[in-house]
């Protein structure tokens, strides 16, 4: 996807005032694994020596936001500090040792009410859709929309599906879904317009845990198909 495109130089990082207390750093404008890895590497670099005025580093697909305490540092000074940290950002090797998290998923039936229709729309069998969805590794490109909701990149482009014309008012927690060229997991019940293929018994977001989100930006994710019995067993497990 990125073959032949020269790596962006440091100077190509655009700064944009996102708010009085936030800078947006844009490394690019496309969904691209290499670009996203550089975003996460830069986010890690900024967090490594975070000064007290730095409140939040928010990575997205090809950009990241940095929120600062506007009463502790001037916006221009924050920008200068960030500029200095961006030097040689293209040389920052994305850490290959990112975690890989296995997510068990019960596909189809009550767990994935859109599996059959989606397979039919793609012209494949439900079994083939399950196999192709679970055979790849994905990357948590960013977390957003809701607390702990991972936008996973790496979906087989042939499995891209348009969002539902009318979003559901109630999607079950743990639902694994395809929306456009991405796949994701709904952490808690709520409305949603993505195609529901299955559901994981794992809890994606729990404020009582030290790490409230099961997944962190930059993590690798692998889906493992399970049956209803294993779903029930894992759900009952502490």
């Amino acid at each position: 996807m990125n073959a032949g495109r020269p790596a962006a130089s440091d100077a190509a990082i655009e700064f944009e005032a996102l708010a009085d207390d936030a800078w947006l750093l844009r490394l690019g404008r496309v969904i691209d694994d290499e670009l996203n890895a550089r975003v996460h590497a830069l986010a890690a670099r900024l967090r490594l020596h975070a000064p007290p005025w730095l409140r939040d580093v928010v990575p997205a697909y090809a950009s990241l936001a940095v929120f600062f305490d506007p009463f502790a540092i001037d916006a221009a000074d924050a920008r200068a500090w960030l500029r200095a940290r961006c030097e040689h950002a293209s040389a920052v090797a994305p850490s290959p040792a990112a975690r890989t998290i296995e997510i068990p998923v019960a596909y189809g039936g009550e767990f994935g009410p859109d599996l059959h229709d989606s397979a039919a729309e793609l012209g494949v069998s439900p079994q083939a859709l399950i196999a192709r969805h679970s055979e790849r590794d994905y990357t948590v490109a960013m977390i957003g929309f809701a607390p702990g909701f991972p936008y996973l990149s790496g979906l087989d482009p042939e499995l891209a599906l348009p969002r539902l014309a009318t979003p559901r008012t109630a999607v079950a927690a743990g639902s694994v879904a395809i929306g456009g060229a991405q796949t994701g997991i709904y952490p808690r019940p709520g409305p949603g317009g993505w195609r529901l293929l299955g559901r994981t018994p794992l809890c994606l977001f729990d404020t009582a845990r030290d790490a409230p989100s099961l997944l962190q930006p930059g993590d690798r994710v692998r889906f493992r198909p399970i049956d209803a019995l294993e779903f029930a067993r894992l759900q009952a497990a502490p």
Binding site: E16, A17, L18, A19, D20, D21, A22, L24, R26, R29, V30, I31, A43, R55, D56, V57, V58, P59, A60, Y61, A62, S63, L64, A65, F67, P70, F71, D74, A75, M142, I143, G144, F145, A146, P147, G148, F149, Y151, R188, F205, T207, P212, S213, Q216, P217
Partner: protein, 328 residues
Amino acid sequence: MSAADSPDSRCDIEVVAPGPLSHVQDLGRDGWRHLGICRGGALDPACAALANALVGNRDDDAVLEFTLQGPSLRLPRPLRIALMGAVCEARFEGQWLPPARPIDLPAGVLSLGGMRSGVRGWLAVRGGLDTPRVLGSRATDLRGGFGGIDGRALRGGDRLPVGAHGAIETSRPRVPGWWIDPDFNHDPHAPIRYLASEAPALRDIAAQLSRQTWRVNAASNRQGLRLDGDALQAPQAGALSEPVAPGTIQLPADGRPIVLLADAQTVGGYARLGHVIAADLPRLAQARPNAELRFLRCDAAQAAAAARKARAEWARLKLAIEARLKRQ
């Protein structure tokens, strides 16, 4: 919060009637946006902090934020309270109570009624509302479903714990003769200032924001203020999701802007026309459905100057409150 914790000073306020949307807030939670968790917090943090100052609390103690109409609360023992923000019809056992000053109340029912203008008010109680901290804050995350009382708006029968150090003694309402201006930072008629996007595809559209009067749509909430007016020409959809922030002016495909507020999602895919400056965000918290809003472009230096001015005014009021409380 075991029974062993100084039973003399801790108590629970009982919610008799919750009001349309009342919830526990403080100054919000930082450090979690990368996990999709909004900052949240009182929609006018300076105002909430002054309510706290009036009762002798810290800036970030938890207060009650209420919307359009306040709740009715049963106080189990004497408490010191202060009301800031939009002025509501406040009564204690039938007696009218003024805003923006520390009021000592005996046990009884405090009823906060409707607001004639504005949308949001803040009630501080000496000792602070002592709901559990979640991810470092007591703020209710209504969309995330955590913080405050089970991550939701108050319901009748809820109990709001008041922290220690809240104990006072009084057998009748005591209202001091001094107060601060509850609207201290706000000129309701001034336009809302914003920094316009400099992106070539958006520059002209962003400039158009200031060329008409907008109306606040009733579907507005703590996540965003929706504006009705002549639709702007939205750029073609399909923009890559990027981080957004409170103040971000989004332009969805329908051409009607949304200004994000404290409960803003952390990323968004709509075109961004720029952002409302921090000094003017508190006024958006008080914009009623159907209210008319005008926007005015400014630059970063003006935004910084406005923020400094608001901060200085806030600090001056806070010092005045502290000096006054020492003399009491």
